[in-house]
Symmetry: C2
Subunit: 250 residues, 2 copies
Amino acid sequence: VNLILLTADELDDDRVARLTGARAGHVCRVLDAAIGQEIRVGILDGPIGRGQVISRTAGEVLVRCTFVPSPPPVPAVDLLLALPRPKVMRRLWAQLAALGVGHVVLTNAARVERNYFDAHVLSPGCYEPLLVEGLQQARDTRLPRVSIHRQFRPLVEDRLDELCGPGLRLIAEPGVPAGIAETVADRDLPRVLLAIGPEGGWNDFERQLLAARGFYAVSMGTRSLRSDTACVALLALVHDALRSREGRRI
Amino acid sequence: VNLILLTADELDDDRVARLTGARAGHVCRVLDAAIGQEIRVGILDGPIGRGQVISRTAGEVLVRCTFVPSPPPVPAVDLLLALPRPKVMRRLWAQLAALGVGHVVLTNAARVERNYFDAHVLSPGCYEPLLVEGLQQARDTRLPRVSIHRQFRPLVEDRLDELCGPGLRLIAEPGVPAGIAETVADRDLPRVLLAIGPEGGWNDFERQLLAARGFYAVSMGTRSLRSDTACVALLALVHDALRSREGRRI
């Protein structure tokens, strides 16, 4: 944990927040922050700042917070992901938030098993704490939006524009010649929507529908990767490509 | 599993291998391969090929194999990794093999807890099956070499040249200006050794020693990531940078 996240309603009129439970334990036992010491804090979907410890008792820490004026930007990458099996999805949540994803759009596909949609790991009570854990690791406050779609075709045909807005659309396909860095560099669009298929791959219908909706095929080589490894690797490449493009503008 | 790995001594003089246990189960239940059907096979640290199913009974599958002449290349990236906590290391093994690492060099550091070195996850009996799982996912045969070092300074001063040979040395540091793609593109060295610190970071002594031994600091942005996320993200960036450089040569 490199940042303690608060919700806006946890601050009183003097900008003092009362931490209990795991967050208080982290401040006392891991950081061992003394009275007067400052720790990094952030407001969920709001700004980052510093919290001065003003009281510290068993199980409760009071911090007075000051924040920088503007919140961090919403990550410029959205993810359209064929729902992986629950064990893999569980491992992914914190990593997605840590790497930075604006909107996580989970979808069905021919090679996704229907019962994955009934998994506990798709309930907000399960995934929200994991997303917060990832944000606290990466010192971000922007909670990824999450939407879950049991029908691929209506999602791609009717909903994607509204969910993710305009931007560069990429579909990861092992072995195609186009790389991510070059493709992002050549197209001056502020946001990227990255589609990652199930471990067995998209089927022909799905591939054609995504191509018809503007998804451009890129690859990171010929190796076939597990969904969680592929997501982390591809998100890192897209973010790096966006950073490189920004760098070249300066 | 996208490839069934065999050891060389599992093949008889007619290049027939007898699969039992999990591999037989995969051929029968997941692939449901009939007599005469071909499946992808590979020899550990040897070539890739096809295996024709010639017999299939409860718990045993016989496949007759033919191989392409030359084995896949050893991955061009080595990893110097400050040992993460056992739970994170366990998740990493298969992912490292899937992404492709020539040599995994695990080291102590000031911010690594000593007792991590006693973990079961560092015994070959634990990690080798996980590495094989990653290779079978990625259709590779090159088992990463693994070495484990309880002393950072003698490793870096005396052993790294012999363990990893000459190459570009990179150290990942959040927030430094140099990117991985540009750094790899500018230096025409065939191999890369990538150093990734503990979650609390290298200390000043470690950083200076690595710099003195030729490690060049690069970053993938300012976000601080868990060791497993950082390894997957950074290995993906280094491999992609090497691929891009090769592409530009053609």
